[in-house]
Amino acid sequence: MSDRIEQARAELRSQIDAKVSSYFSSCIHCGLCAEACHFHVETGDPRYTPIYKLEPMRKLWRSEHTLSGRFSKLLGRSTELSEQDFADWEELVYDSCNLCGRCSMVCPVGIDIAYMLRKQREAFNLSGYTPEGMRNALQRTLTTGSPMGVTLKTLQATLAHVEKASGLTIPIDRQGADFMALFSSMEVVNFPEYIASVARIFDTAGVSWTISSEAFEATNAGIQIGSREGAKEIVSRAVNAAEKLGVNYLISPECGHAYTAIRWEGPNLIGRRYRFEVIHILELLDQLMREGRIRFNGKSDTPMTLHDPCQIVRRGGVIKAPRNLLHQVASGFVETTDHGSMNWCCGGGGGVSANERAEALRLKVFGRKKKQFEESGVDTVVTACANCRIVLEEGLEHYEMDTEVIGLTELVAEYLEQGAD
């Protein structure tokens, strides 16, 4: 066995903490998680049962943490976790899991399967059995600052257009601002409307904010592929920039996993508390609305529904804010079945959208979203994650559905009452 695999095995061993151990020993093999997973539901393939995706970790746990496992090991009846196990499970661990956490919600004994899969990915990353697209995305983020190769020059070009169209000045490196905003690469490149909307809303509400020229990227390919070193480096950049500017709050943008990275995993990755607070843009907009700092002028009467981004809503807990906002700006808002914390993932989360090999599978399991949208009876979908938006658009196009996808922050900005104080 090569050093690489030895290292990966040691990593997996260190990932088996008390929580993981109690999770494995509590599993009653009921199979309910299978029915919660869009990969299983849409394909009927039993290999996509969420807990089965953790078989390499379970194998190691069994042989080292259970009496029967240790006994069979002594008798030479069990095989060690091998390189072949990593090779065989790579597709299950990366192509067929969005880390969406829907399985964790239905487990009758409370096993957080997504938490374990995230941990298992750390070992897979060391083993080298990872999808090329995700590896490259992490490498590009570490070298250029962005998974898409967005640089300060790209941001400046985008901001120049936003400033010209809005007549507003976007504050860069403003020392002592109250808030610092991060953006995902896709927002900078493809959804400058999001940045323009944030600028307009903040201008109206009198929010003191800034962007850092040193760290504006919100995405974190490290937490997707399972590289805590990479994830830590990416989080550190934003943390250092925010602390250097002395802001009180860091705003996580609409992007889903950015929130998981900076809000939930970040302090553990860098090993200390931040000297500022992290707030999601939807939480902030909801707060500004409740404080009367933004008001609305009319509402959209277009019937529309909401696609809850997994990492913001189910994993992140920002459930009410998008709804509070939507009710203010849309009179025809309807919920889908399984909305909120039980929504179905777009299929692109957890790095799957960056994994070209997984494209056919991703489009197949989009069948679940298709049914959900069809049942809702509307043909406009609002969401709050740039990656969800792209993945939804691709899926809708694939199934030739005439459904429009719009961003929530942009919708809020569209009905903003100018001059409210």
């Binding site: 995305a137 790209t154 690469s185 896709m186 490149v189 493809n190 960056a354 990656n387 792209i390």
Partner: protein
Amino acid sequence: MAIEIEGKSLETDEEGYLVNLKDWVPAVADAMAKEDDLELTEEHWEIINFLREYYEEYQIAPAVRVLTKAVGKRMGKDKGNSKYLYALFPYGPGKQACRFAGLPKPTGCI
């Protein structure tokens, strides 16, 4: 790998993208198109030239949905849609057109 253009050998990566962006001349697009059994028309050139300008401004190669949206903004919905762009660049308007235009391989978000 390399591609022979006007008597010069230009370095390309394993997927056929130019390694040095500055090496690009229009004959690069013609030669790459020929290898893909395509003949470049005015419509192709409109997109290739647009990509050159886009890169000059943003320093990034646009992935398919980004390209589609950007083309739509500049040239209208008739051209800013997947059907039109895939008909011109059957191997994917992001990847194939960026290659012809001498840009790096475009990547999506994560």
